[in-house]
């Protein structure tokens, strides 16, 4: 029996905050062919395009547990602290989060100010 079914694209995942778009092949907490790994939130998942092994998956994003926005897992858009929170929601409810997370956000903010996005390399 062939347990390695080819994943079919289900649609495009688009982050409602940064616009990152990528096709996803699975939505849920137990991506196919990953056996022992489970996700702690319902996530949009694709096959990891950067690893040749076809069983490796990549979590693209999920829904904010407060506002239900679809957000990517990028640190500019959301964070996970036992649940997914989009950054706007985190900022609104900053006090509810532990100090470590607040410090972390603060650090990131000053960091992104002093280091604008890196230059991309050119290709024809």
């Amino acid at each position: 029996m062939d347990s390695h079914k080819e994943a079919q694209p289900k649609g495009d995942f688009e982050c409602q905050l940064c616009g990152l778009t990528a096709p996803y092949s699975y939505y849920g907490q137990k991506p196919p062919n990953t056996h022992s790994v489970v996700l702690l939130e319902e996530s949009y998942v694709m096959k990891d395009p950067f690893i040749p092994d076809k069983d490796k998956f990549l979590i693209l994003g999920s829904q904010c547990s407060l506002c239900n926005r679809r957000v990517c897992v990028g640190t500019e858009c959301s964070l996970f602290y036992s649940k997914r929170f989009c950054l706007p929601c985190v900022n609104e409810n900053l006090r509810e989060f532990p100090l470590e997370i607040r410090q972390d956000l603060e650090k990131r903010k000053s960091h992104s100010k002093s280091h604008p996005s890196k230059k991309a390399d050119a290709r024809t």
Binding site: L20, S25, E41, P49, V73, T124
Partner: protein, 1138 residues
């Protein structure tokens, strides 16, 4: 991670007690392989996300080591990450209510692992938790936590790549023009996208079109390598993970499947598709990339597409070009809209450093040697001006290989002295491994200096180049249509090329471009390079146009028309070669040749070889002659190569040397798997080209089969053989997949002194996967049936087959013949010169076997009888030889490339387009340039009339073979007739007749013919030349006996009346003895000749095309017969004679 480092780390760990060790009191050692193995047994099982022994598990342990060190550094006393608190169920409480109050990094990981013990617990199977072979609970949970961190880290890493990729795509200049482009494509049939290096058009435009809903997109590229790399890149960027939506198709490889939405392919390949399906029904959008490069195929493709567009109003065409001569393209397509995209280059400083007058003058004494000093000065200037910490490599553009070695020599001496440079050559005749070195990295503080031909202008892109040094020169092939000669000449480059070269310095940061010419020189350069169509031979193009039904090539609306003379030469050549008839329509052989992607002469060999059952050796030779020569230039440092090559050399000529080489290589490959690379290296052979030849050979084989010129193969008959072949293939597939997963070649760090003579380090390194597998060998075995190839290449040809093979080659190459100069025997070996009909004083290419052994060509081998008077007998021999050659190349001298020797008299009688005779046929002129004198008139007549019959028979069989190739076996040539012809040709070749051979002088050529005669009546000699109609030749005088033969048209004082003189003669067939004129004699002889002897039926049946793939023609010298045998049958047969 290098194992030595691993060990060092392990030692360090065992010295410094880590917190985790401390807690355990020393009974648990994380670095102990046995401990690790126990954990792997629990967590990295076959069904787990990470498997023991995989690359992934290695990475995990490396990560684990880093995590341990991080924990050690972290303030002591804090709770270690190792021990995660009991997890609260995150879904229990809605919103913010359930957030854990006490912070722990574990809460930030959004996945979990059910493994080993845990899984057992969770499912309650197999009788509860496994205790594991002695892993304490604490270590288990530490390991589990680390595993979660690792998985989270891997997720972050991949996601960061994804985000970066998307950022980069959005930042490309072309991204801003996406909507404009899509609108233009929607509203117009043809759109031109003009953008310079770095704007992103090649990778993005195809993706935009796909995303906008177009499918069946084809994107043409001038270079095969670009097809592969673009398909890879676009596949990667579009994150296609559901099979092959993005594919490529090149000459020997295709990743195309029904799912493919976009395919990158070469221009030539798309043209072949038009040839088969003129409306290209399979495509919705065509993108023609890099049209500004103006390759022959690209120009022609545009012409074909322009004609096609009205018939396919639904087809979209996007032309992509650098911002060069945009108006030409837009105008050609009726004013197509242009989307202009700015390039993205960093600023480049241009430094003009023309070579000082006095230096240039001093160097002009030896014009063949380039003066390297100005180049060295630039290296010094860079060292002087830029500190070594500022990275940036130098790319030097030179015109050719000789120039490269001149600069290489001094630059390497300088590099050795300063230790600040690694100097590497780059040109297309280097081995692939040597070419690949330019992508490796120099050690810190050292710059790469890449000394290149214009290959680095567009074909090869090297990152990290900051300095460009431009000689301003290029060597290009130019074509002389009159002499049908390719010339490699040095030219000034165009302004467009100069800008392209300059741009190579600004790809990754600001750069500097040194130009070894003045700004005024630059201004005087031509604006664009000369399009290829205006400087190459157009035979193949015209042939292809004819087969596409494009009408008269002279009136075809080209983008920019080629010179009329080139077209005329091509048409004439194709007529001479028999591909076009007098009305310039395709002949049957012509239409077959049009479908073979090779030079006309090589295509002809293939067809001719098939007739005599010589398909196998001819396939090999045709393929080997169509790729770049596998013989690398002999290097001074490796004289052993020449010795090692010697056994491969054939005294008959280069094509046969290639045949030997290929066959030997196949034997090595099939007998000693994996050792062929070394075998090649010892002989100075570029193995890659042999692989290419093998691929091409296979393609020819398929084409010949498709055209009914070869029988289809039969697979192995018994199921055991089939199964074992199947098993073998599965194993090969697995090897290839493993290779691809590990990514193939990685960049290495160069050693200082790299590239210096003697230190080349390509000891089989490149192309070898981490497992030591020769991936080229794996691919070769996947693509070819090695047993079949081995059988085809393992049997020695009989002397008869060999003679026929040479004849076939010679007929294919005709009229590319050269005659040795009459004084060659008095010249030094290296000064041997040759003449063709149109060109005098040609030398042999140094790689040619006759260049090292010129005695092979000498006709005067027969001992001159002592005392025999010279004079009228001078130059008589039965062994005069001609050279048939594949091509003529002019660099500093004109060279004959790939030569084969052939008996002059027989070759000329069999192949000349025009053969003119004197009345008694003792004087013959072939193609109005070579004179043959055969003093024995009887012999001359006999040979002539035999040649006439053989030619007629051969032509007839060939035509039947070409007509019958459409599948009806009834039309196949009668095997008996083939056998008879074989026999006749072999006998003809064995004729030993004394004759002289010389070129006519210009004056003689003028007064060669008697001209039209007043006596118009044909002599009433029925039956002459087997009833051929004799008509007076209106130009030359005399009588046309056959299309190629004009009798008695040569002017000469002595034979004015000879056609009336009768002498007594005995007919060898009927013994009739009476006086005949020469013509009467011929007439009698041809009518009296008994029916050609029928070859024994058995042999005829054997030579019919029923051969299985493993059978080979075999000539047994003991019983003097030819057979078709498999290798084992040959052995069995041989045993009979013992």
């Amino acid at each position: 991670m290098p194992s030595s480092e691993k060990e060092r780390r392990a030692k360090r760990r065992s010295r410094d007690p880590s917190p985790s060790r401390g807690q355990q009191g020393g009974c648990w050692d994380w670095s102990c392989p046995e401990m690790r193995r126990r954990l792997e047994e629990l967590y990295f099982r076959e069904q787990d996300y990470i498997r023991a022994g995989s690359e992934d598990s290695r990475q995990f342990w490396a990560f684990f080591g880093r995590l341990q060190r991080f924990q050690t550094l972290k303030a002591k006393g804090e709770p270690a990450v190792w021990a995660p608190p009991a997890r609260a169920d995150p879904s229990a409480a809605p919103g913010l209510a359930g957030l854990p109050r006490e912070y722990d990094p574990c809460y930030r990981i959004n996945l979990s692992v059910l493994s080993g013990d845990v899984e057992g617990l969770a499912r309650g199977r197999r009788g509860g938790p496994r205790q594991g072979p002695g892993v304490p609970a604490e270590q288990r949970s530490q390991f589990r936590a680390a595993l979660l961190h690792y998985l989270d880290f891997a997720q972050k890493q991949s996601f960061a790549k994804l985000a970066k990729l998307q950022r980069e795509r959005a930042a490309l200049p072309i991204a801003q023009y996406r909507d404009r482009l899509l609108r233009a494509v929607a509203q117009n049939q043809v759109v031109v996208v003009a953008g310079d290096t770095g704007c992103g058009k090649s990778t993005q435009v195809p993706q935009y079109l796909l995303a906008a809903g177009y499918s069946h997109v084809a994107c043409t590229q001038p270079r095969r390598i670009a097809c592969i790399s673009l398909a890879k890149r676009v596949g990667f960027e579009s994150l296609h993970q559901y099979g092959a939506e993005v594919g490529y198709q090149i000459r020997f490889e295709s990743t195309r499947s029904p799912a493919t939405k976009i395919v990158f392919l070469t221009e030539g390949l798309l043209l072949r598709q038009v040839q088969r399906e003129p409306a290209l029904p399979g495509y919705q959008v065509l993108i023609a990339d890099e049209v500004h490069e103006r390759h022959l195929h690209s120009d022609f493709l545009l012409g074909v597409l322009r004609r096609l567009l009205p018939a396919r109003p639904d087809l979209k065409l996007v032309l992509m070009s650098a911002t060069i001569n945009i108006r030409l393209f837009a105008g050609y397509f009726g004013g197509a809209p242009v989307v202009q995209v700015p390039g993205r280059l960093f600023p480049i400083t241009v430094v003009y450093q023309p070579i000082p007058q006095e230096e240039a003058l001093a160097a002009s004494g030896k014009p063949e040697r380039l003066d390297p000093r100005p180049y060295l000065r630039v290296l010094q200037a860079i060292d002087h001006k830029y500190p070594p910490e500022e990275r940036g490599d130098l790319l030097v553009f030179l015109s050719g290989v000789a120039e490269i070695s001149a600069v290489l020599e001094v630059a390497q001496a300088y590099a050795t002295h300063t230790q600040r440079w690694v100097v590497l050559p780059l040109h297309s005749t280097l081995s692939i491994a040597e070419q690949d070195k330019v992508f490796d990295m120099p050690p810190p503080g050292v710059r790469k200096c890449i000394v290149s031909t214009n290959i680095a202008e567009t074909s090869v892109t090297i990152d990290g180049v900051r300095f460009v040094l431009d000689s301003g020169k290029v060597k290009e092939l130019s074509y002389d249509p009159q002499a049908k000669l390719q010339r490699l000449q040095e030219f000034w480059i165009s302004r467009a090329s100069a800008e392209q070269r300059k741009g190579r310095a600004g790809r990754t940061g600001p750069g500097v471009c040194y130009r070894l010419y003045a700004e005024s020189d630059y201004d005087a350069f031509a604006p664009y390079p000369v399009p290829e169509i205006q400087r190459v031979a157009l035979d193949a193009l015209v042939l292809q146009m004819k087969s596409m039904g494009l009408g008269d090539p002279r009136t075809f609306p080209f983008l920019e028309p080629p010179p009329q003379s080139s077209l005329e030469t091509a048409v004439r050549y194709l007529r001479e070669q028999g591909a076009l008839d007098r009305a310039e329509s395709l002949t049957p052989i012509g239409s077959l040749l049009a479908q073979l992607p090779v030079d006309v002469v090589i295509g002809k060999m293939l067809v001719l070889g098939a007739l005599f059952g010589l398909a196998e050796p001819v396939l090999t030779m045709a393929a080997a002659l169509s790729v770049q020569s596998p013989f690398l230039r002999p290097t001074r440092t490796n004289p052993d190569c020449a010795t090692a090559r010697r056994p491969l050399e054939s005294p008959h000529g280069d094509p046969l040397t290639l045949l030997n080489t290929f066959n030997e290589w196949v034997q090595v490959k099939s007998e000693r798997a994996g050792s062929s690379r070394k075998w090649c290296r010892l002989r100075g052979l570029e193995e890659h080209r042999l692989y290419e030849a093998a691929n091409l050979r296979h393609q020819f084989q398929v084409l010949l089969r498709d055209h009914g010129l070869l029988e289809p193969v039969q697979g192995p008959r018994d199921s055991y053989a089939r199964q074992s072949r199947h098993r073998e293939r599965r194993e090969l597939h697995r090897l290839r997949q493993r290779h691809e997963e590990t990514g193939g070649r990685t960049r290495k760090v160069l050693r200082l002194q790299e590239g210096e003579a003697g230190s080349s380090s390509d000891e089989g390194a490149s192309g070898t996967g981490p497992s030591g597998v020769d991936i080229q060998d794996v691919k070769f075995k996947l693509r070819h049936n090695v047993d079949e190839l081995q059988a085809a290449s393992g049997t020695a040809l009989s002397s008869h087959q060999f003679a026929l093979l040479k004849l076939v080659l010679c007929r294919g190459l005709y009229p590319q013949l050269a005659v040795p100069d009459q004084y060659n025997s008095c010249r030094k070996d290296s000064d041997q010169i040759f003449h063709t009909k149109n060109k005098q004083g040609i030398v042999l290419h140094p790689t040619c076997v006759f260049a090292s052994s010129p005695e092979l060509l000498q006709a005067t081998e027969e001992k001159a009888e002592p005392g025999r008077s010279r004079g009228s007998q001078e130059g008589l021999s039965s062994r005069h030889q001609l050279l048939a050659f594949v091509s003529l190349l002019e660099t500093n001298k004109p060279y004959l490339v790939n030569c084969l020797r052939a008996p002059a008299l027989q070759a000329l009688l069999l192949f000349s387009r025009a053969l003119d005779t004197s009345a008694d046929c003792t004087r013959l002129v072939a193609d109005s340039w070579l004179e043959l004198c055969v003093p024995d008139s009887g012999a001359a007549l006999r040979l002539l009339s035999t040649a006439l019959q053989l030619r007629a028979a051969w032509e007839g069989l060939l035509n039947r073979q070409l007509e019958g190739r459409r599948g009806e076996p009834g039309h196949r040539p009668d095997p008996r007739e083939v056998a008879t012809l074989r026999q006749g040709l072999l006998e003809f070749l064995q004729q030993k007749v004394q004759y002289s051979l010389r070129r006519l002088t210009a004056l003689e050529k003028q007064n060669c013919y008697v001209g039209p005669q007043t006596v118009a009546a044909a002599p009433g000699l029925p039956g002459l030349f087997q009833g051929a109609e004799m008509t007076p030749d209106e130009e030359k005088g005399g009588y046309r006996v056959a299309e190629f033969l004009t009798y008695n048209c040569l002017a000469s004082e002595t034979d004015l009346y000879s056609d009336c003189l009768r002498s007594f003669w005995t007919c060898p067939h009927c013994a009739l003895y009476m006086p005949f004129t020469p013509m009467e004699r011929m007439s009698h002889e041809s009518s009296c000749r008994p029916r050609p002897q029928e070859a024994p039926l058995e042999e005829a049946a054997e030579s019919s095309a029923k051969a299985t793939a493993l059978q080979r023609p075999y000539h047994c010298d003991a019983c003097e017969r030819d057979f078709l045998f498999t290798s084992t049958e040959i052995l069995r047969h041989r045993k009979q004679h013992q």
